[in-house]
């Protein structure tokens, strides 16, 4: 078998391992699915009426506005879980065993990433289901939905590789749960919950240039028909760049440890 075929085979073996682990330890997945749903309900029913007026509509207008931001938040929350799982895994003897075996070096990390992305996509699907039930009204066709799913998957892959790298770098699982925390708050410091033009200058500058904003704008544009412009290209570039850098960082850390 060629090197690539071996790498694919080992990675799919490790992915099966990770999916089995997720099924055996469902409390983490449940928590990662429930948390964003609670945030959605909180923002729609507690803050939504007032915030919706600021957008020139009501609660209904706010649901439509806030869903993309919470989708990203859901992925970022799940990434925190991934970092903890990776850090925990690294403390177990089984990783030392993998290192002494003739297998594709990064396959154990790839297994974590694919498992986590699947977990995140399930979480996002549940979130969209709940949103639709409480009044989310996208006007997207099949192509737009597929586009949004693709964008969100790219984003999930990027934050997950970043989380894997952060998890590898963390000395303990506790430290690993803190490292990706800023990611969870980035939707707030962007166009996730309110439009950036309502923010003071410095914050607004940050909000418009940070990577989450073009991604949220792209998802929003695809689902709700708001203008996308250059945001899609910028969003894809951020995701690909973040994935590449994080992958190399994680792999290097794994080889060195």
């Amino acid at each position: 078998m060629s090197t690539l075929a071996l790498a694919l085979r080992d990675s799919s073996t490790m992915t099966r391992r990770q999916l089995k682990r997720l099924v055996r330890y469902p409390s983490m997945t449940v928590q990662l699915v429930v948390t964003p749903v609670v945030i959605l309900l909180l923002f729609v029913y507690v803050f939504g009426g007032t915030l919706g007026k600021g957008l020139g509509g009501g609660r209904g207008a706010y649901i439509d506005y806030v869903v993309p931001g919470i989708l990203l938040m859901a992925a970022a929350t799940a990434a925190t879980g991934t970092a903890v799982m990776v850090a925990t895994d690294m403390t177990e003897g089984i990783i030392a065993r993998f290192r002494t075996m003739r297998i594709a070096r990064a396959s154990v990390l790839t297994g974590h990433v694919v498992g986590s992305v699947v977990q995140q996509l399930i979480g996002m699907a549940v979130l969209i289901g709940v949103a639709l039930a409480i009044g989310f009204r996208p006007d997207a066709g099949i192509v737009e939905w597929l586009g949004a799913a693709g964008m969100l998957t790219l984003f999930a892959v990027a934050v997950t590789w970043l989380a894997v790298a952060l998890g590898m770098k963390s000395p303990t699982p506790e430290a690993a749960s803190n490292a990706p925390m800023p990611l969870v708050f980035l939707p707030f410091l962007g166009s996730g919950f309110v439009p950036t033009d309502s923010m003071p200058t410095v914050l607004r500058w940050f909000a418009e240039y940070q990577p989450f904003t073009p991604i949220m704008e792209t998802v929003r544009g695809l689902l709700l028909g708001t203008p996308i412009g250059h945001d899609a290209a910028i969003a894809v570039a951020w995701c690909v760049g973040l994935t590449a850098v994080s992958y190399l960082w994680a792999k290097r850390t794994y080889n060195k440890a």
Partner: protein, 314 residues
């Protein structure tokens, strides 16, 4: 001439200022059991980590299973199996799933993987627990599963890093039985242990590691010959009896560790004939010892004598 499974020259490793391995040479012929003995912190685990490609050495040339450790790490990995002192099992997966995972990573076919897993579960007495998560296993069962996982790929060289630490005597014995079976099949074993009895039971050759250096190497018998031999201990009820015995035997000395000064130590290899002669002499002199014990040197004596606390002041 037999081939060497491990051939190391001048192996060195430091962590910062701390020298862990200070130039050690190892030669382990194929199909033998080699045991590395040493106190905690002597560098045993580091040696295993280097030889099993987990950490790079700072210096020295090493060939493992015929491959250069530094340049052909993947070939080495393909030939070895490692069972460490911390159980390397996935605790969320069942015993069977752990074995199947190993089979997949060794690129065995599905049918072959299933067959190997079933065979190893049977051999390691884990059939009843096969469908339970490994996290629910006892220490002995986890260690057996761990070794079974190592064997999935049929390695020709197996590193066992303190394989019985923390196991009860029964589990330890069943581990020894398995190791003997492996050796019978021609597998080379590199064993580290802090149990001298274990090295004595299993190893063809033993090396004593202390302070990052090999301070002695040889068969168990050769090592025992390095230190003063055995003796017979005779305890008497009074001083007169002891003096009479000393006169009758013509050799021996009062054991300084007996505060009452009533114990006589007589050099002896512990054989039956010299012992019978010794008792006959005492009989002829009319002295009757209150207590008699035979002491033959064991690896504990070797270990304690050679790795004395003086080493800590290096």
């Amino acid at each position: 001439m037999t081939n060497l499974a491990i051939d190391a020259h001048g192996l060195r490793k430091s962590y910062g200022d701390k020298v862990v391995l200070d130039g050690i040479d190892l030669a382990v012929p194929e199909g033998t059991v080699f045991s590395l003995l040493g106190p905690n912190g002597a560098g045993k685990t580091t040696t295993v980590q280097i030889l099993s490609t987990l950490v790079p050495a700072d210096g020295g040339t090493v060939r493992v299973a015929g491959h250069d450790l530094a340049r052909e790490a993947d070939e080495v990995r393909g030939a070895i199996g490692v069972t460490g002192q911390y159980s390397a099992v996935d605790k969320l997966l069942t015993g069977e799933e752990n074995l199947r995972l190993m089979a997949d990573l060794r690129h065995l076919s599905r049918a072959e993987g299933r067959r190997r897993a079933a065979e190893l579960l049977e051999r390691f007495d884990l059939v009843d627990a096969a469908r339970k998560p490994a996290g629910t296993y006892s220490g002995g069962m986890q260690r057996r599963l761990d070794l079974a996982m190592t064997l999935v790929g049929d390695p020709r060289l197996i590193f066992l890093d303190e394989p019985t630490t923390g196991l009860d005597p029964r589990s330890r014995r069943s581990m020894w039985r398995i190791v003997r079976e492996l050796v019978r099949d021609g597998v080379t074993i590199f064993l580290t242990t802090q149990y001298l009895e274990e090295a004595d039971e299993l190893a063809d050759r033993i090396a004593l590691l202390d302070g990052g250096r090999l301070i002695a190497e040889g068969t168990s018998e050769e090592l025992k010959r390095l230190i003063p031999g055995g003796h017979v201990s005779l305890r008497f009820l009074d001083d007169d009896a002891l003096k009479d015995a000393l006169t009758a035997l013509g050799r021996g000395f009062v054991d300084p560790s007996d505060e009452a000064g009533l114990t006589l130590q007589v050099p002896s290899d512990g054989g039956v004939a010299p012992l019978r002669e010794l008792l006959a002499r005492l009989d002829a002199a009319g002295v009757e010892p209150a207590d008699l014990s035979v002491h033959t040197p064991d690896l504990d004596d070797v270990f304690l004598t050679l790795t004395g606390p003086k080493e800590t002041s290096r």
